[in-house]
């Protein structure tokens, strides 16, 4: 999960207001509004499912590949987290083998684990990105602020989980999962906790704004607001909800790209220019595109010989790739680098200009 670094940043944005706002959640909110206005909440039509599937190849799949690329990019990176790099794939392979060996006993629970873990992971990313922008904006998030914000963010995912279980029977990824038997009181309790968390966090923000006599930059709140839109009203808008993983992936890719550029441009003898940024970006993008296809298309086909429905085989492997991603994402942001400033705190445009010492 993304974590803010201690180094202060000169810029609030990774690139600029428009691109940051669009990638971090603005685009998803616009898409939600469009879906509500024109599709009227809509149904999950075949066309929408196909559009989401096609876009997945260019956004969702590369987002998984980006974590793998980051961890295994160099031997040094992989060695920093040996259990994650070399042990975890075997554990997950064993889980895949158990699921395919006992498709009725093990596979439904392996997929259930992934289905509950996935929105939790989204929530963690939302919290991480909020922390980064808060740090960039000079808004200190202490223990209580973090607790209030976490309560809000993580409650949205629990409310969505409870709600979804009531609305639809979950038949996906090749297995049919019965509805989880949540009690009637659970959703109101979690919803109350969610609004309480939001209220307390807003109270901290108002205090900060009054003390500083300035507005908190909206980008700090955008990840949390986006998550609310994704999981609360967005979930009831089928035409939009299909694209939520895409927007999560887009958010991730944007930060990961800035990180990659920050790590490589202007270092190892590379010049600081837009040309270098473009070269690093194209290489990174191509690797992740190919990596995504290998993970989600080639890998399931390797198991074609297993005498089970392809949907189930693909579902189990997608669950494994996702769980691997959740683990790897937890460590890659902690990788140690030689550079003095964290790439998470730099502005990409700054890397296009020669360093200040050279300019002087």
């Amino acid at each position: 999960m993304l974590r803010a670094d201690e180094n202060p940043s000169r810029s609030l944005y990774f690139l600029n207001w428009w691109l940051d706002a669009a990638a971090i959640g603005g685009l998803s909110i616009v898409a939600f509004v469009v879906a509500r206005l024109f599709a009227g909440g809509g149904e999950r039509t075949l066309e929408i499912a196909q559009a989401a599937a096609i876009l997945s190849v260019f956004v969702n799949y590369p987002h998984f590949s980006a974590t793998v690329y980051r961890l295994y990019e160099s031997r040094d990176s992989a060695r920093q987290f040996p259990v994650t790099s070399y042990g975890l794939p075997f554990v997950l392979l064993a889980a895949v083998a158990a699921s395919l060996w006992q498709p009725e006993l093990v596979a439904p629970y392996f997929i259930l684990l992934f289905l509950i873990w996935s929105p939790y992971h989204y929530s963690g990313q939302t919290l991480g990105i909020t922390m980064i922008y808060a740090r960039r904006a000079g808004f200190g998030i202490g223990q209580w602020q973090r607790f209030a914000l976490s309560t809000f963010i993580f409650s949205t995912f629990v409310v969505a989980l409870v709600h979804r279980q009531r609305v639809e029977p979950t038949g996906s990824y090749g297995v049919i999962l019965p509805a989880i038997a949540f009690p009637d009181w659970f959703e109101p309790v979690v919803t109350t906790a969610m609004w309480a968390g939001a209220a307390v966090f807003l109270w901290f923000i108002i205090g900060w704004c009054r003390a500083r006599r300035q507005m908190l930059p909206p980008i700090v709140l955008l990840p949390a607001v986006s998550q609310y839109v994704w999981f609360m009203p967005g979930m009831q808008t089928a035409a939009f909800y299909e694209f939520v993983p895409l927007f999560h992936s887009l958010q991730y890719l944007y930060i990961a790209w800035a990180m990659q550029v920050g790590l490589h441009v202007g270092r190892e003898g590379q010049e600081r220019s837009w040309r270098s940024i473009r070269a690093v970006s194209v290489k990174w993008g191509l690797w992740n595109y190919v990596g995504g296809i290998l993970l989600f298309i080639a890998l399931p086909w390797l198991f074609f010989w297993v005498p089970l429905p392809m949907a189930l085989i693909a579902g189990v492997l997608i669950a494994a790739v996702n769980i691997h991603h959740f683990f790897v994402d937890g460590v890659i942001w902690k990788l140690r680098h030689a550079p003095s400033t964290s790439p998470l705190m730099t502005n990409v445009a700054d890397l296009a200009a020669p360093p200040r010492a050279a300019q002087a």
Binding site: V83, G87, Y109, W117, I180, K334
Partner: protein
Amino acid sequence: MRPAHLAASSLLLMVGPAVAEEAPLAAFTAPLTGREVFLAVVIGAMMACGLASFFLAGRVSDRTQIALAMFVVLIGAFGLLVLFGGFIYGSTIGAVAIVLLLIGLFKLMNQFEGARKKPPGTKSQDRA
């Protein structure tokens, strides 16, 4: 009593103890169900992690040791989910408990192979 009847009743008396002797043996050698085999695999995987931790002691960092311990927790949790996960569908309290436990598991796994704060006064042996 005719000899044939005597022989038959003797046979019954002889077979009785034999059946009694075989009954416990049958219980031990009965074929395992899929669930039991899965449980055995889970226990084996947890033991493998424990053994890895034991044999790597002193050669790997504390962080790696903790990560191996977390694997034990993860594998055990998944084993329990497969064995008792049915409660999530049949019991309201079970559903809440299992979801909350899973969230706790995810939170724990967030710290997988990450640096942990040591209690004050503890010597660091982390070589990483």
